[in-house]
Symmetry: C2
DNA sequence: CGTTGTGTTGATATTAATCAACAAGTGTGG
DNA sequence: CCACACTTGTTGATTAATATCAACACAACG
């Protein structure tokens, strides 16, 4: 049930022609089809800035004036209810695009989990950009399509999976993330580093922090995972955990 | 919290130059920017077919060979877990695009709720189409962006709203649908016709049929809605219902 | 050191699920 | 036309999963 993953796209005016040491992808390029001579132009339209952990750079309801591309670090994306209930709709790492929506105001908030570097375009400039680089538009459509698939998978999780299945899905999903593209360092595919708190995990999975904690403890007691530190999980029995995640395994 | 709604786009080879009597939108046109002379070409790439209620025309896991555009009727889109648990991720009405994803297989299933007319392109032909009509690609990006916003709103509902809030959100959302674009006839903005069963509503809202039934009964008892027939709901106090839907109103 | 934020664990409450019965509507065939 | 099965929806009684309330452990930090 793993989904196709988009190659990360990075707009990073500060690191032109500095290819990623892991996957060889050339930073600064939105799309392979864009000629390097055009990158100059691309950079001239963008502004880069940094965000400290805990700082938000998009606020739900604010006028949607910019379009963002994450260059480094990770952010949590969330929506709030008036009484403070929160749903984290996703985590945006390197290469992630934010603020595509047609609406005149942002429909979610974004807050940095780690120090971030972000590339920003004003909406009008994005429009110019897309008109000039149809290949970029093609790529954005691909990206949006993939995000839609992920969103539907998350709806299945939130609407129909048990707490146990949600945690298993979360860990499997995190383990599958190509770690060389994340802002933080992760070990093997079996070692999952969690830059977010239990509270964030709970709000992402539609649970409480207590249920997250208890469920992780139980998975550990069953020998499926290890928890060497609060923000590190080692997957011991990947297949078994995946079976739980996909609902193939009956509940205990 | 109502979102921007995309103008319906209809690819309907059988009804060229037959504008929608309500909103004036010209059928057969994917995008206003496409010249009518191009429509001929567009139609030549598409195949049209019908689907009876209860029949599925997309099956999760099957090779994703086609791209669809709903011309008439409504479908439910859903994902299944191995033990039969189901999550309906949305309902696709007239103008809706299906099967955009990059993946080689469909990530969801689609089944007709009402008699449907559907326009179909093979993937390679869609590619040709998008290369020839960049305006269509632009439109698809808009559509996908809007769907992503809707998906995030649904995540908030599934992860953090109470049964009462979910039903209120569902009814308000249905009432706001531009009924002149749906395949079925709806009365005023306050009269909501539900082409789906209680089971479908439950699977869409992450609840059981019993909870859906009980919650609707309670809303009726409180004078917020009327239920003249099982698939008709009249909204009596729209503002109050909306207050519940958005979480502004405290629970009873 | 105290303070604060984060995470764990236990006891209890609550929401919604499950199990169960029945009512109403629909279609079929005799 | 009616008996029948079958589907859909409602309502009630009980259970179960997760939330809530509460206490405490631990680490980071001034």
């Amino acid at each position: 049930m793993s989904m196709a993953r988009a190659r990360p796209l990075v707009l990073d005016p500060g690191h032109r022609d500095d290819p990623c040491s892991h996957c060889g992808a050339r930073r600064y390029s939105v799309c392979n089809a864009i000629e390097s001579k055009d990158l100059e132009r691309l950079a001239s339209l963008a502004t880069q800035f940094t965000v400290e952990p805990g700082r938000s750079f998009i606020d739900e309801g604010d006028p949607a004036e910019h379009f963002f591309n994450v260059t480094a670090g990770t952010a949590k994306l969330f929506k709030l209810l008036p009484d403070g209930r929160r749903q984290i709709t996703g985590f945006a790492g390197t290469g992630h695009f934010l603020g595509l929506a047609v609406s005149s105001s942002y429909s979610f908030s974004a807050e940095a989990l780690e120090p971030m570097r972000i590339c920003r375009f004003s909406r009008p400039k994005l429009k110019v950009l897309l008109d000039d680089f149809p290949a970029m538009e093609k790529r954005l459509l691909e990206v949006a399509s993939n995000e839609l698939v992920a969103a539907q998978e998350q709806m299945l999780l939130l609407g129909r999976k048990t707490a146990r299945e949600r945690l298993a899905s979360f860990l499997i999903g995190r383990a599958d993330v190509p770690t060389h593209c994340l802002g933080h360092q992760a070990g093997t595919a079996e070692t999952v580093l969690l830059p977010m708190t239990r509270n964030d995990i709970a709000d992402y999975l539609g649970l409480t922090i207590e249920t997250v904690s208890r469920t992780l403890t139980k998975l550990k007691a069953e020998g499926l995972i290890e928890i060497p530190s609060a923000n590190t999980v080692v997957i011991r029995r990947h297949a078994a955990l995946e079976g739980i995640a996909t609902g193939e395994t009956e509940q205990h």
